[in-house]
């Protein structure tokens, strides 16, 4: 479980997050929605230690995360698939996965087999450079690389960005299945609210760095005001 309390982040004079509080329940998908510039990416980067907040706390179970370094937070079991996926193009598929499995206890071969079973397309291209993969395959690789580390928490930043609707639908199904099977706590940042709400149990809406709604995904999805003003969904 991730608990965010009164979190504020500023980049110089620009306030990116203001007094943000919410909880992402264990074994659930929490969607974080909002328009461009709402602070969604900053929120994930603060949770994973890349950005230092000006105030507030982030707790992973009973462990305080603020003040720890990103690499330490990763090793505690917080996986972060960054916006744009962060796949290393110069590495082969397998090298990307080896990098992900560096600090887990499962033997490499077993971890690889598991990911190739989950994403067969990656297995077929294991020796290819990641630069040669399609957008959907790169997203799969980024997910697999995060999963092979056996995280308890998975932060996903706009996984559907640039993907065809069909690929997105498949990806969302995979995320939901994984969350159920592995009891993962997922924080899913999406601009594509419809898609995200479909698989989430809980949703937080950000606007200009503030939480404007925090409720069950179904409730948020039904709220006409939210749909119109913050989620860009027509009624």
């Amino acid at each position: 479980m991730i608990t965010v309390t009164s979190l504020s982040v500023a980049y110089g004079a620009v306030q990116a997050l203001r007094d943000v509080s919410f909880q992402a329940g264990a074994g659930q998908i929490t969607a974080v929605l909002g328009a461009n510039g709402a602070g969604k990416t900053t929120l994930l980067r603060t949770i994973s230690g890349l950005v230092t907040p000006t105030q507030g706390r982030v707790d992973f179970g009973s462990t305080a995360l603020v003040g720890r370094r990103a690499e330490e937070i990763a090793r505690l079991g917080v996986g972060h698939v960054p916006e744009g996926r962060g796949v290393i193009s110069e590495f082969t598929v397998e090298e990307n996965l080896r990098l992900g499995s560096m600090f887990n206890k499962t033997p490499l071969a077993k971890g690889l087999a598991e990911q190739y079973e989950l994403f067969p397309a990656l297995g077929e291209r294991r020796k290819q450079h990641a630069a040669k993969l399609s957008g959907g395959e790169r997203q799969m690789l980024a997910m697999a690389r995060a999963l092979i580390a056996e995280p308890t928490v998975l932060l996903l930043d706009e996984p559907s960005l640039g993907l065809a609707p069909l690929v997105t639908a498949q990806l969302m199904k995979t995320i939901k299945d994984l969350c159920e099977k592995k009891k993962l706590t997922v924080i899913l940042v999406e601009q594509n609210a419809v898609t995200a709400l479909r698989i989430s149990s809980h949703a937080v809406v950000l606007n200009l760095g503030r939480v404007v709604a925090d409720d069950d995904a179904s409730v948020i999805g039904e709220d006409e005001n939210l749909r119109q003003y913050y989620l860009g969904m027509s009624s």
């Binding site: 990763a74 960054p82 080896r98 990098l99 560096m102 600090f103 580390a149």
Partner: protein, 299 residues
């Protein structure tokens, strides 16, 4: 066969190969730092020079050659790591001119300090290898047990670095930190430590190179011993592409051989001129280097 091995062409190739291996090692040590930190280490000759004085001048008379080499290498690794931790760490993200000025400053200070402590008189380093060329049917062949020692050591160092990067977990982390520092941190890689290690490794390679150069009976160890060789190593790295370790080594060896022919067939004064022409032409034709595939620089 004997006539061929002792021919003028062959002796230029062999002599050039020996020099080229040294240029390749210097280029490799430059590439190791450039790839991880984006900094051109102008003190890449001076830092190992100090380590070589520590190992080969202070200890060689009491401990003998090989233990002194080990001490020199350990000193080199330490100097590299300390330089990164204490000085270079403050330079990341600063304008590119800052590290240039700082590294040139370190070069000048280290050469001055070494001259103050050990003087500029060349120190011969007694070692087990003879510098006298072997003979075939009464004619010299441009190889000696010393030049073979240089070539074999260079090959071993190059293979070891390649194996480290290709086959080990540590190598994977070093490469990942250089290519994508932020993503690496998100996967648990201690990128700061990898940078320190990169500087240590580079200075370690540089120290082995300097020990080889200074062990040469005809050169000896002086505070400026690496200045000229650094220039050729730098040209090799720039021609091969600063991003490419293989490119650095290949162009180092090629440069060594080409310059040997220039020295033999034209004039030894033409060597540095030709080297500069090669640099300028290659920068005009392929500014990112012959062996660099993509032109995008890491940002």
């Amino acid at each position: 066969m004997d006539a061929f091995l002792t021919s003028r062409i062959m002796s230029d190739v062999l002599g050039g190969l020996t020099n080229g291996m040294i240029y390749g090692l210097v280029a490799l040590s430059l590439v190791l730092i450039w790839r991880s930190a984006g900094i051109l280490n102008f003190a890449a000759g001076a830092m190992p020079m100090v380590a070589t004085y520590v190992g080969m001048v202070i200890f060689v008379s009491t401990l003998g050659y090989w233990p002194s080499v080990v001490i020199a290498i350990i000193t080199g690794l330490t100097i590299g790591a300390l330089t990164e931790r204490v000085v270079v760490r403050r330079l990341y993200g600063k304008p590119p001119i800052n590290p240039v000025v700082v590294m040139v400053g370190i070069l000048i200070v280290l050469e001055g300090v070494a001259a103050a402590i050990w003087s500029t008189v060349p120190r011969g380093i007694p070692n087990p290898f003879s510098p006298i060329d072997w003979q075939l049917a009464g004619k010299p062949i441009a190889l000696s047990s010393f030049s073979l020692y240089e070539i074999v050591t260079a090959l071993v160092v190059m293979s070891a670095v390649a194996a480290l990067f290709r086959f080990t977990k540590l190598g994977l982390q070093l490469r990942a930190s250089a290519l994508a520092p932020e993503v690496s941190r998100l996967l648990g890689v201690r990128v700061g430590r990898m940078l320190t290690l990169g500087w240590a490794l580079s200075t370690g390679v540089g120290t082995i190179t300097t020990v080889l150069v200074a062990s040469n009976f005809f050169t000896g160890l002086t505070p400026q011993v690496m200045d000229g060789i650094f220039a050729f190593g730098f040209i090799a790295a720039a021609v091969g592409g600063l991003e490419s370790p293989v490119g650095a080594i290949v162009s180092g060896v090629a440069l060594g051989i080409v310059l040997q022919f220039v020295g033999d067939y034209i004039n030894s004064n033409a060597i540095i001129l030709v080297a500069l022409v090669i640099l300028v032409v290659s920068l005009m034709v392929r500014p990112n280097g012959i062996f660099t595939r993509n032109s995008a620089r890491r940002v």
